[in-house]
């Protein structure tokens, strides 16, 4: 494809300007501010600062609570990405078939994405409330499993992952469906003629061809699990019980906005930024190589 040439030299910059401004105001400026504050100890009102060098970082990295929070986040992201993506892919493949009423199914599956995290949290919180939630009560009656996300740490993390996956379900399905519908039918027909069954067709043809979509969703879900689940945690578990669901973003909120240790919280946001950047680069480096672009 040849490069498109703009006759006007200023127009491209003008067209780019709004996005550049948005990035500067909402990303670069706050990030620079965080980087600056991360080497200070700051008073709650923010009027007094003491330069402490890298102390905030060394303290974080030697803090048992922070390392625990990191572990919890990694576990949480692992569950959300692995199970969330698998479930969405299976559902998308099923929804992609020409079943009766499939339009309704598709619409229903995409629905959760339209809800705010707060509402998703409320719905799941009520449903799984150990004392009066229908989900928890039925689970106990039929399986004997005591699912108390308010006092049991494992239950709490699973509960949160479940709600987070459900919330992301619609987003994943939209992309998987779009990917599935964009697949070249000739290849699938050829495979059928060669006598491949549905299983083989899926693994040998569909799945490799779908890899750009899967890879994109892999990145998006990882970012989601690390960054965007704050609302969910805030409204359901509040990081508890104990530290069981104290994800990195929530820990940052607690230190920054509840305890008002702005410097310490800024250091955490810098670490979080580094982690996610590294993760994304690694994904593009290694997972990206295996992706087959048509």
């Amino acid at each position: 494809m040849s490069q498109t040439r703009f006759p006007n030299r200023i127009l491209p910059y003008l067209l780019l300007a709004p996005m550049v401004v948005i990035v500067i105001i909402f990303f670069l400026y706050p990030s620079a501010q965080s980087l600056y504050l991360s080497v200070f100890r700051v008073s709650p009102l923010g009027d007094r600062k003491i330069f402490v060098g890298l102390e905030n970082f060394t303290r974080l990295l030697s803090s048992k609570d922070y390392l625990n929070s990191l572990l919890v986040s990694v576990r949480f992201a692992g569950i959300v990405v692995l199970f969330g993506l698998s479930a969405s892919l299976v559902s998308a493949v099923i929804a992609n078939q020409r079943l009766r009423g499939f339009a309704v199914y598709r619409a229903l599956m995409i629905w959760p994405y339209a809800l705010s995290p707060a509402i998703a949290g409320l719905v799941w919180g009520l449903m799984m409330n150990p004392n009066f939630g229908l989900g928890a009560v039925l689970l106990k009656r039929f399986t004997g499993i005591e699912f108390n996300y308010l006092t049991n740490g494992t239950s709490a993390l699973l509960f949160l992952a479940l709600a987070a996956m459900w919330k992301m379900f619609g987003y994943n399905i939209v992309f998987f469906l779009a990917g599935l519908q964009g697949l070249p039918t000739e290849l699938l027909e050829a495979a059928s003629l060669d006598g491949a069954g549905a299983w083989t067709k899926f693994w040998r043809v569909t799945f490799p061809l779908l890899s750009p979509t899967t890879f994109f969703l892999f990145v998006m879900n990882t970012l989601y699990a690390f960054f965007e689940v704050f609302g969910l945690v805030h409204i359901t578990t509040g990081g508890g019980p104990g530290q069981a669901t104290n994800l990195l973003v929530f820990n940052l909120y607690k230190d920054g906005f509840i305890a008002m240790n702005v410097g310490y919280a800024s250091a955490q946001s810098i670490l979080l930024l580094i982690m996610v950047a590294t993760l994304t680069i690694l994904q593009f480096r290694y997972a990206g190589e295996k992706v087959h672009y048509q």
Binding site: R41, L45, R48, G240, P241, F257, I258
Partner: protein, 479 residues
């Protein structure tokens, strides 16, 4: 083609969503607080409030001439009272506005306690602070040291005798000899117990436990009878741990618990602290003490009839009486035996602070409002509506003569507990800098001991070291 359209539509939606979030982030200040700009110019304020004050005024000139309302002082009041409490706060403000021409109090719910304090300080920096902000007890030192407040005792024009404030409440908030804020809603902790379970187990429901040993033996009797799966759970365990220090007259920090000067050292791992924590661990090992989270989740097993005992804030009383399907008894906090002197239980709740960014007129108006909330009548309404202590002694006397405590003996328990206790720096409770973080540290230590079986001394040594570090950091930032 269809797919293409879909993609375009989807990307448009994404852009739209991003714009929305961008807008939401861009303009928090103006949407939350449109008023303060107008407070300096009283004229537009009068258009918003169609003169509830003016109707009281006999001189009708004010309603016609826009120049006259210059006397109207508008003050905003940010608070964290949600649900039915918000209605009660609004009620106080309405009655105040109706009886105080020239002053308009505007209460605004600004989220949880923590959010209210954070927002208040953030607004102060940008020059949009309210006149009055409510801060929870752990925010006391932060507010006091912020340099952004006018101490309430300086506003007192001699018309309130501080001795009229119920002593343990006054003493809790007193720093360096004076009250920096106006006590508003106060509670403490006590034992709740299930009287039906007592009867079923053959115990006298009118003889509640008084010591941790009683809790142990009574729980065992009830559990052995197959009536309960555990003995007790505790709400706000880190706060209960503080309560235990004060209740046994043990200092928790130096400088008279941080009252004569700011505390720089805590005694969490004192002989008493270790003994208390060890006792809790023993109870946990026998399945009597069951960890119930850091806030109110502890109420659930008690309400579900699974445990006979609950140690919780008195502010839960109304809710518990409403939802319990059994007879609820209340009692004083349990003691660790007689070797330690009797102290007092500690006040929790919140206090009202005045920002120094308010004009002198607004500060005077805030004081008028404080006096109003402190009046016998309002204090009684507040107590009956919320279950919080009435702050004034005369309100307490009035309730007593009315026979309210005989009707509601459970409301009397907490009161008798704080009024019957000692008045020493140790029993007035501790005030610490960055108290939020410290409660978190102590909460984690309790979890380690009670849930994970860590050695109490080891856990408390670590908590003490961590807390002292937090205090040193806090002090380093003071002017």
């Amino acid at each position: 083609m269809k797919l293409r359209q879909f993609q375009i539509l989807f990307s448009l939606m994404l852009v739209f969503a991003m714009l929305l979030t961008a807008c939401a982030q861009a303009t928090p200040a103006p949407t939350e607080e449109p008023a303060p700009a107008t407070t300096e110019e009283p004229a537009p304020a009068a258009t918003e409030e169609p003169a509830p004050a003016a109707t009281e005024e006999p001189a009708p000139a004010a309603t016609e001439e826009p120049a006259a309302p210059a006397e109207t002082v508008e003050i905003t009041f940010w608070h964290a009272m949600s649900g039915s409490r918000e209605e009660i706060v609004n009620g106080i403000a309405e009655r105040f506005n109706a009886t105080h021409p020239g002053i308009v109090v505007k209460p605004e719910y600004t989220g949880s306690y923590a959010e209210t304090v954070t927002k208040g300080l953030a607004a102060y920096r940008t020059g949009t602070a309210p006149t009055i902000v409510q801060s929870y007890e752990v925010g006391t030192r932060t507010m006091y040291d912020s340099g952004a407040i006018v101490p309430v005792y300086t506003l007192n024009t001699g018309d309130v005798d501080w001795e009229e404030v119920v002593t343990p409440i006054r003493k809790y908030y007193t720093l360096e000899g004076n009250l920096p804020c106006m006590p508003f809603n106060s509670s403490t902790a006590m034992i709740y117990y299930n009287k039906d379970m007592f009867e079923a187990a053959g115990l006298d429901p009118n003889v509640p436990p008084t010591t941790w040993d009683d809790i142990e033996s009574m729980s065992k009797a009830i559990m052995d009878a197959g009536l309960a799966t555990g003995g007790l759970s505790m709400g706000w365990p880190a706060w209960i741990f503080e309560q235990m220090f004060a209740y046994h007259d043990q200092l928790l920090a130096n400088n008279d618990n941080g009252r004569s000067a700011i505390a720089s050292e805590v005694y969490l791992n004192s002989e008493f602290g270790v003994k208390m924590m060890t006792r809790w661990q023993e109870l946990a090992d026998d399945d009597i003490l069951v960890y119930g989270g850091r806030e109110y989740a502890a109420n659930d097993p008690f309400l579900a009839g699974q445990f006979p005992f609950l140690v919780q804030s008195t502010s839960s009383l109304g809710g518990i009486l409403k939802s319990a399907t059994f007879k609820v008894g209340t009692a004083f906090l349990p003691r660790l035996g007689d070797e330690y002197p009797q102290g007092n239980s500690v006040i929790g709740g919140a206090c009202l602070w005045v920002f120094d960014s308010a004009t002198p007129e607004q500060q005077a108006a805030a004081w008028e409002f404080f006096k109003f909330t402190f009046s016998t009548e309002e204090a009684i309404t507040w107590h009956k509506g919320t279950g919080y202590f009435p702050t004034s002694v005369s309100a307490y006397e009035q309730l007593k003569t009315e026979g309210w405590f005989e009707e509601e003996p459970n409301h009397a328990t907490a009161f008798n507990q704080i009024l019957g206790g000692a008045d020493t720096p140790a029993s007035n409770g501790v005030i610490l800098g960055d108290f939020v973080t410290i409660r978190d540290i102590v909460g984690a230590a309790i979890e380690e001991v009670v849930v994970n079986g860590m050695d109490p001394k080891e856990a408390l040594d670590k908590a003490t070291a961590d807390t002292n570090q937090v205090l040193a950091d806090y002090i380093s930032l003071l002017p």
